[in-house]
Symmetry: C2
Subunit: 173 residues, 2 copies
DNA sequence: GACGATTATTTTAAGCTTAAAATAATTCAT
DNA sequence: ATGAATTATTTTAAGCTTAAAATAATCGTC
């Protein structure tokens, strides 16, 4: 028996943090908790309703937004996973007939990956349900709160990208 | 030929979303982007500076906050991973000598996992550096902004837990 | 106190993920 | 043009992760 239904008080990574801990750490752990909770719901929904995994869905979603297809490297960037990861993921989706690979004419190192008609159809069948799940998960927030959250996350994203490796040697204006 | 410089603008999952897309989806994807970026930094830092993986560090961190140790199930809840996952993670950390398992005297199904002195020492050696990484990543936000973000994420967390499976049959006040 | 239901954990099979090394094609400065 | 450096991708080995089934112990009830 699996016991993964989070009924009752959830005791996650961040709930146990004493309240005098560092603010940065608390925000990070709460952010991680939210991301994990949402991801778990979406993953379960995709499996139960569509028998597909989250990584495969994410890859299809990227291709759906790119009518001309994407290279392996572009997929790796957008999904924020290692390039070696994409190789296997693409292989599995090709063998399922949901995507197709074609060598790039100009650069023989590259290949371009596209949705097949079947892949497009499969993705379109999942989108409305997926969007409903997300809407439900955010139902407790007003549009103003979501906008505020979006803005703060944008600032955080810039902060992250401004720190770390190469922060000093940026050549951007 | 690629217009994407290695340092230049990052093209991740959410950057490509048209701005008329649903607000909920945009917040979710930006949240995911931030979580992925932070996780990647921490993962790389732990590997480079301490030769440890993120899951192992996370498990040690949970045990550090639990002087009396935790059961396998408690670890699974707190780290928000499957119970089967914990089995292997604990095995590896036991074989490294960083944690120890002891059968629960009252319930022979359970076992209690604790940090060993070596594990405590190893974790204490990593903590300050880890905290510095997090502080750096959040350096672009004021304390007020972090507090606001923390509050919005708390609201989101409640929203998530209030939706989904069993939302109607909650027995909590 | 026996028995069905519940709970804690492990096992299994498959898939995901990473970092590092390897392969192969392109670019660039001679 | 040649060769060094760069870029795109695959391979490899190890580890992580999940869902589902299996095992085993406890609990509740009669």
């Amino acid at each position: 028996m699996d016991q993964d239904a989070p009924i009752g008080p959830v005791t996650d990574r961040e709930s146990a943090l004493a309240r005098d801990d560092k603010l940065e750490l608390r925000v990070w752990l709460r952010l991680l908790t939210c991301a994990n909770l949402i991801e778990a719901r979406v993953r379960a929904g995709l499996r139960e309703d569509f028998s597909i995994t989250l990584p495969r869905f994410d890859l299809l979603a990227q291709l759906d937004r790119a009518p001309d297809g994407l290279t392996m490297g572009e997929l790796s960037d957008r999904l924020m996973v290692s390039n070696g990861n994409i190789t296997g993921l693409v292989e599995r989706l090709v063998s399922e007939g949901l995507i197709a690979r074609a060598p790039s004419p100009s650069d023989r190192r590259r290949s371009r990956v596209k949705l097949t008609p079947a892949g497009k159809r499969a993705f379109d069948a999942m989108t409305p349900t997926h969007e409903r799940w997300i809407d439900d998960l955010f139902a407790g927030l007003s549009r103003a709160e979501m906008a505020e959250l979006l803005a703060l996350l944008a600032k955080l994203k810039r902060s992250i990208q401004g720190s770390g490796p190469g922060a000093a040697l940026k050549d951007n204006p």
